[in-house]
Symmetry: C2
Subunit: 322 residues, 2 copies
């Protein structure tokens, strides 16, 4: 049975602003059951409000503009099952709101800019994911979101993207090498014509310390046209999902992945692959499969954490008995 | 050398509202050096603001009106040398203010209503003190303070004292038995005539697990008229300080106690025994000696904590070497 480890399973989604962290997190939380997932945005750990960042010229990407030690402390406490008293940052106006108490559910899903920045943070995740979309996709996504919900206009967002480029390269991108899983969304060859976020290619790199999913059947038969797996020999395997993934093939892939999560099957009603586009919510097959694959890893990680605890308990019991 | 332990020394002052916690804490912090002492008021961990307490009828003495688990978590983090992000309660208007980051100094001095309420809290203090003034003194002190600085009138404070009596007996007083040290201020026989807070008798009960101060010379010679020590056989020693303690005897006592704290002698400029009375700040000899004795215990506790750490390090080193 998944998700029975006595401590929360800790899951981190890391990436630059506009990389798609919230969209992916929302999908995973839906699959896992919103009532069991505690979502934490590390933006709440900003050390400066928007006005102070403007005044100092320090971008939100710079580690000095985040309370990294407090992030680590709180992630450690959550992993230990403890309720935290945490700051709250309000993106609508760029100020700090009233702090909140947050109790960890069975799964803690953390997303933010610096989730893999410090050794302490890196030590706390059961699974960490770095989102690495093509730069032109990220720019378009960030413009879409920041103009719709954060009160910026397009010129301001483009200016901010430009101003942050150096800090992104210095502080955000290097975290990619620390992640268990790297997810890269890429425009397919015909993207210039369709410009459709629902049909992006996906490349998923999985570092070897994570146990490989037992999903060989995905890469054979009718779905092999859209999904490829390269078994890496030096540290990582790669799964590639074709942006043109058909509805029928998606259905087959979903059936197969759910088959490997029997204890979570009651969650199948989850609405997968949803994302916010200019016209409202839409659905993407490659995103749906990506969300489901990630969730599958979390289920695996949960079972692994439980086994490790049982092993540790067994050793401790044996030691006491001897 | 005192105060060299690598973790902060944790000191708790517990007692009912108006028991004199702040006055005693201020004096100890002055002696120890304000720059090395981090003061925490557990009132900041109120779960309800003043309006909510009024609406629900829950007093601040009731454990449900405090975030006891957060107190324990934060005390544990401070003891571990970590900075905390803590709530702030504003007594001036009874609301919550902006939370604060607090970094522990060499000494953490915590005062509050529930500092000995939970097993976790009790396990974290190097020295704990319960303040137990005579009820009529506490009432007078609380009226003096709450009318001067908290916006109440005398009738309101008397009504509050009456309303809180049951909760005080149920939740605050029992903590007395958990404290290492109990300090009881009592009006001397002639108090009715002079009504002078500067000349109160003091009775200090010291539980045995705390090492006895090496201060026998205090209880002999010219100061024996004012100070008595009863060596207890069943769990506690008692020091009694006569409210009529003269300036000359106070000077002798101070000289002797400071002699036992050579490494802290540069702190002798501290202004001891100060308390706020209606007419402004005044000075009390018994309070000065009480503050100095308490500080002496803290210095002892610090040396003890350091020895324990050295011992633990030694054992760990020996274990690694074998």
């Amino acid at each position: 049975m998944p998700f029975r480890a006595r401590r929360p399973i800790m899951f981190a989604l890391v990436g630059d602003s506009g990389a798609g962290k919230s969209t992916l997190a929302r999908g995973c939380a839906d699959i896992l059951g919103a009532d069991r997932v505690t979502q934490i945005s590390l933006d709440d750990y900003h050390a400066l409000d928007r006005a102070a960042r403007t005044a100092t010229g320090l971008t939100a990407l710079h580690p000095d503009s985040s309370h990294l030690a407090l992030m680590g402390q709180h992630a450690r406490l959550l992993r230990n099952g403890e309720t935290i008293f945490k700051p709250v940052y309000d993106h609508a106006d760029g100020t700090f709101g009233r702090p909140q108490f947050v109790r960890p559910g069975a799964i803690v899903l953390v997303n933010g800019l610096h989730g893999l920045f410090t050794p302490e943070l890196r030590s706390l995740w059961d699974v960490s994911v770095f989102l690495d979309p093509a730069p032109e996709l990220r720019a378009a996504w960030k413009i879409k979101r920041d103009t719709a919900t954060r009160g910026y206009d397009e010129a301001e967002v483009r200016q901010e993207l430009e101003a942050r480029r150096r800090d992104a390269e210095a502080f955000i991108t290097p975290q990619r090498e620390r992640a268990d899983i790297v997810i890269a969304f890429r425009p397919p060859a015909d993207h210039g014509r369709t410009n459709d976020d629902a049909r992006l290619d996906v490349r998923i790199r999985i570092a070897h310390p994570i146990p490989l999913p037992d999903l060989d059947d995905l890469f054979a038969g009718e779905t092999a046209r859209f999904l490829r797996m390269e078994r890496g020999t030096i540290g990582a395997d790669v799964v590639e999902i074709d942006g043109g993934l058909s509805d029928a093939a998606t259905q087959v892939v979903e059936d197969r992945i759910w088959k490997h999560m029997p204890a979570a099957r009651h969650l199948r009603s989850a609405r997968l692959g949803a994302f916010l586009d200019v016209g409202g919510e839409r659905r993407s097959n490659p995103l749906a499969v990506t969300q489901l694959l990630l969730t599958y890893y979390l289920v695996k990680a949960s079972a692994l954490a439980e086994k490790q605890e049982q092993l540790a308990d067994g050793i401790a019991t044996a030691a006491r008995a001897s």
